[in-house]
């Protein structure tokens, strides 16, 4: 350590007492209940829990796709709506959701067109992001000509095309088989290392959460709340084999304990 330590930078994403209650015909549903969380720049944070624990809802509140009914959420120090208008983040959904009437390149170009980038700039960015996800050569193909894994990679490229420091991913690999999933997990980590973005990642696979993250947020349902926040001490450079090491298994065990404590296995 040389010299005094730098003052801690403001967190990129912050939630204080965040609450979201839905009014349904069968009574109120507490999707989120008093959620407190900070995510700093450059972190890779996984949200894990069973269905109904609020992990997707939390991500959507951060993305201003849902409105909280209580508490505060801040993204880059602004309200989620202001952050969305400032195009502060890229969002990757569970399904690739590519437009079948556009080529892969056209799909990656979509957000750039909407945000008004210059033509030359757009072409450069499309080439760069397709290279990042290893889809160079598929620019002129249509989505239905690609496999599920490749479509999801294109979806990630689309989220990386414009300058946003934050990447929010809602179970992006859930529909894919395990082998493809392993490849994509590796690719995602390499991407994260190269781009240094802050990533929020929702999953319900314990190994995936432990493998990818620097911080694991364990949630449980009824009401949706955070049970445990686990700081991962695994090295940043992780080959797939790390999943058999004792440190990894210890973290996975801690996650499982958290899920049990939240009655996720009931």
């Amino acid at each position: 350590m040389t010299g005094p330590s730098l003052p801690k930078a403001d967190p990129v994403i912050e939630a204080r007492g965040l609450t979201l209650t839905f009014q349904t015909g069968d009574g109120p549903v507490h999707a989120l209940s008093d959620v407190n969380l900070t995510i700093d720049k450059g972190e890779f944070v996984s949200f894990i829990g069973p269905s109904g624990c609020g992990k997707t809802t939390l991500l959507r509140v951060i993305a201003d796709l849902e409105q909280a009914t209580g508490g505060v959420a801040l993204v880059n120090g602004m309200t989620p709506e202001a952050a969305r208008r400032a195009r502060a983040y890229g969002y990757v959904f569970q399904a690739a959701g590519l437009y079948p009437w556009r080529t892969i390149a056209g799909n990656v170009r979509l957000p750039l067109e909407i945000m008004g980038y210059a033509r030359a700039d757009m072409d450069a960015r499309v080439a760069r992001t397709l290279d990042l996800v290893d889809l160079t050569g598929f620019e002129r193909k249509f989505p239905w000509q690609l496999s599920g894994g490749m479509q999801q990679r294109a979806s990630i490229a689309r989220a990386l095309a414009f300058d946003a420091d934050i990447l929010l991913m809602d179970e992006p690999f859930g529909a894919l088989d395990e082998i493809v999933r392993d490849h994509l997990n590796e690719a995602l980590l390499k991407l994260w290392a190269r781009t240094e973005k802050t990533i929020g990642f929702v999953t319900h696979s314990i190994p995936e959460a432990v493998y990818l993250s620097t911080k694991i947020v364990v949630m449980s349902p009824r009401p949706g709340r955070i049970i445990d926040v686990i700081e991962s001490d695994l090295p940043k450079d992780r080959p797939l084999d790390i999943r058999e090491t004792p440190e990894f298994l210890a973290l996975a065990h801690r996650v499982r304990m958290g899920l049990r404590a939240g009655h996720s296995y009931d």
């Binding site: 796709l65 400032a86 890229g90 437009y99 079948p100 009437w101 067109e113 909407i114």
Partner: protein, 320 residues
């Protein structure tokens, strides 16, 4: 080895087809004086061979998109030709009175001899009334749908009403339109406009709902405004529904224009020609007009289908 087997499979329908042609020729030759027993035998034989030819053709398994296309087109053409042949043979051979049903040869003769009249009728009914009404009606429906789209209240109110009106016999307003707009093609165009408006409106509204929730959320994350979301997502996603409506309306437009003319029209127009020639029992002229209508209608529908294939190439129904 495989090539020879494939050629063998194709030989049977080919042989049957040639046999059918031979028998058909014999039948038509015999028909001229009225059928005897042999005439009926040739006719039935030709029909049977033609059907066998189609069945054999359908059983083939051609490789490649082009051959596949040829197979389907071939089967349809042979079937159509068989119908035409049966029509000709039976009307001439059984000496069916021409007022009841004229043979195709007579219709073709009348057709060739009346081209100027047929053309004038075609322009009056199809080009002026049907086409104009179609463009204005469908255009208005799309604009109305876009306007209604911004108000969920209007949508909830108009969709059921629109569905009901689309089922009504709109053709009934023809006399009223003649009263308001006069005898000429304008009143017919007005009928067409009303006829195509509601089905097109209903289809467009359905189409505007077609974009998935997830896609709309994605647009929200890009902070895209209403216009961008409409142009880049919702309109392309609505295209299959729009074309469904356009195809339905194409047949409605022509029928509407022709039938509207039954209620009063100047001395030109397909509907006019049909109703007067029916009165004079000139059935062959009527059938000539019908041929024009069928050709125009098929061409119109075909054009829209081609446009559909070009613009909605990505839809699962277009990707065989």
């Amino acid at each position: 080895m495989i090539a020879r087997a494939r050629a063998g499979a194709g030989a049977r329908p080919l042989a049957l087809g040639l046999l059918a042609l031979l028998l058909a020729g014999l039948a038509l030759g015999d028909a001229r004086g009225g059928f005897g027993l042999s005439g009926w035998l040739w006719t039935l034989g030709a029909w049977g061979c033609a059907w066998g030819c189609v069945a054999g053709l359908a059983a083939l398994n051609p490789r490649g998109a082009l051959l596949h296309r040829a197979q389907r087109v071939g089967a349809a053409v042979i079937f159509g030709a068989t119908l035409l042949f049966l029509w000709q043979a039976i009307t001439v051979g059984a000496q069916v009175p021409t007022v009841l049903l004229p043979p195709p040869s007579m219709i073709a003769e009348r057709f060739a001899g009346s081209l100027p009249i047929l053309w004038a009728d075609f322009v009056q009914t199809f080009v002026r009334a049907a086409l104009f009404g179609y463009v204005v009606g469908c255009g208005a429906a799309v604009l109305a749908a876009l306007a209604i789209d911004r108000s969920p209240f209007l949508q909830a109110g108009l969709l059921p009403v629109g569905n009901l009106v689309a089922a009504l016999p709109i053709i009934g307003i023809a006399p009223i339109m003649v009263m308001w707009f006069g005898f000429d093609w304008h009143s017919k165009a007005a009928v067409v406009i009303v006829m195509v408006f509601f089905p097109m409106l209903v289809n467009t509204l359905e189409g505007l709902k077609a974009a998935e929730r997830m896609q709309i959320d994605l647009m929200r994350t890009y902070a895209a405004d209403y216009r961008q979301t409409l142009l880049k997502l919702r309109l392309p996603a609505a295209a299959p529904f729009l074309f469904n409506g356009l195809k339905i309306c194409s047949t409605l437009a022509l029928i509407g224009a022709i039938v509207a003319e039954f209620f009063g029209t100047p001395t030109v127009g397909m509907g006019f020609r049909i109703s007067t020639e029916v009165g004079r029992m000139n059935v062959d002229m009527v059938w000539a007009e019908i041929t024009v209508a069928a050709l125009a209608g098929s061409a119109f529908y075909g054009l829209i289908s081609v446009a559909e294939r070009l613009l909605t190439f990505w839809h699962p129904s277009q990707r065989r």
